[in-house]
C-alpha cells in the first residue's frame, strides 16, 4: 500500500505542472487615425502594488526609442531581456493590435493591471495611457486611451 501511495504521489508530481491552470486572454488595442508615423506601443502588466511584473508585447523594434515609452522604461528598466521574443513592428495609424496570450489563472482577478504606453515620431509620448484591471469584470469593455489609443479591451 505504501508503494502505491508513493507511486501516486510521484505521478501527481509529474502531471500537476502539465495541468497548470491558464487560459487564453486577448488584448486588443485600436489606434486612432492620427495620421502620423507608426506608433511604438508597449503592453505590460503591473501587480496590485503597481510593481512591474512583465511585458506582454512591444510594438516597435528599435531599442533606442523604447525610452519614449516612459513608464514601461522606468518600471521595467528597459532591459532587452524583458522583450526578447515578444517584439514586433510599430503599429500604423488606425490599426488594431490583437494579442492572445496564455495567462495563468492566478493572475486573473488578482489585482493585476494591464498598461499601455505609446509614442510616435513627431508626436507625443503617452505613458500609461491605458490602465485596465486584468479581471473578468472588465472583459469586453472598450477603454479609451489618453493619447493615440482609440480603444483597448481585454477578453477571456
Amino acid at each position: 500500500m505504501k508503494a502505491l501511495m508513493t507511486a501516486l504521489a510521484a505521478a501527481t508530481a509529474l502531471v500537476t505542472p502539465t495541468l497548470a491552470m491558464a487560459r487564453p486572454v486577448t488584448f486588443e488595442t485600436t489606434l486612432k487615425n492620427y495620421g502620423g508615423n507608426g506608433a511604438y506601443v508597449a503592453l505590460y502588466v503591473t501587480d496590485a502594488a503597481g510593481k512591474y511584473r512583465g511585458t506582454l508585447w512591444m510594438a516597435g523594434g528599435k531599442a533606442k526609442y523604447h525610452r519614449h515609452l516612459a513608464d514601461w522604461q522606468r518600471m521595467s528598466g528597459g532591459a532587452a531581456a524583458e522583450i526578447d521574443g515578444i517584439t514586433g513592428a510599430s503599429i500604423g495609424s488606425g490599426k488594431t493590435l490583437k494579442i492572445t496570450a496564455d495567462i495563468a489563472d492566478a493572475m486573473i482577478d488578482a489585482g493585476y493591471q494591464v498598461r499601455v504606453d505609446t509614442a510616435v515620431e513627431d508626436g507625443m509620448d503617452n505613458p500609461s495611457e491605458v490602465v485596465v484591471p486584468l479581471s473578468t469584470g472588465s472583459a469586453g469593455k472598450l477603454t479609451p486611451g489618453k493619447g493615440y489609443v482609440k480603444s483597448f479591451s481585454v477578453s477571456f
Binding site: I86, S90, A104
Partner: protein, 120 residues
C-alpha cells in the same frame, strides 16, 4: 510488494501519458507552438516602425519647442542609427526576430507559451 510496485508503476506511466496528451492538445490549440507566431498578419506597418522618436525634453534641450517631437531633430538622435542609411525594413513585421527565441521568464506566459499577434 512486487504487485504493489507494478500497480504503482502502471499508474505513474498512465498519468505521465495523460500529461503528455494534454500538452500535445494544448500545442495544437496554438498557444504553445512558437511557429504559430509566423502566422501573424501584420502587413502595412512597413517603414512605420523604424522612424526615430525624440523626447520633448530633448527637443527643449536642443532649443526647439516643447511638447512635440521635432522631425528636424532626427539627425541629432540618429548618429548611432543603424537603419537610416537606406536599409529600412530591417525590423521584421511579423514579430520577434526568431520564433525560436524564448519568451521572457516573467511568468506572464505560463512559462512556456508565446503570444499570438495580429495587426489588422
Amino acid at each position: 510488494m512486487t504487485r504493489h510496485f507494478l500497480v504503482g508503476a502502471a499508474l505513474l506511466l498512465s498519468a505521465t501519458t495523460a500529461g503528455l496528451a494534454i500538452t500535445a492538445a494544448a500545442r495544437e490549440s496554438g498557444f504553445l507552438t512558437p511557429n504559430r507566431h509566423a502566422q501573424s498578419t501584420i502587413s502595412k506597418a512597413a517603414g512605420e516602425g523604424d522612424r526615430p522618436i525624440l523626447l520633448a525634453s530633448e527637443s527643449r534641450k536642443n532649443g526647439h519647442h516643447a511638447g512635440r517631437i521635432a522631425k528636424r531633430d532626427r539627425h541629432h538622435d540618429d548618429d548611432d542609427d543603424d537603419d537610416e542609411d537606406g536599409s529600412r525594413g530591417m525590423i521584421l513585421q511579423n514579430g520577434p526576430a526568431s520564433s525560436a527565441t524564448p519568451v521572457p521568464g516573467s511568468g506572464l506566459f505560463n512559462g512556456n507559451s508565446r503570444p499570438k499577434v495580429q495587426v489588422q
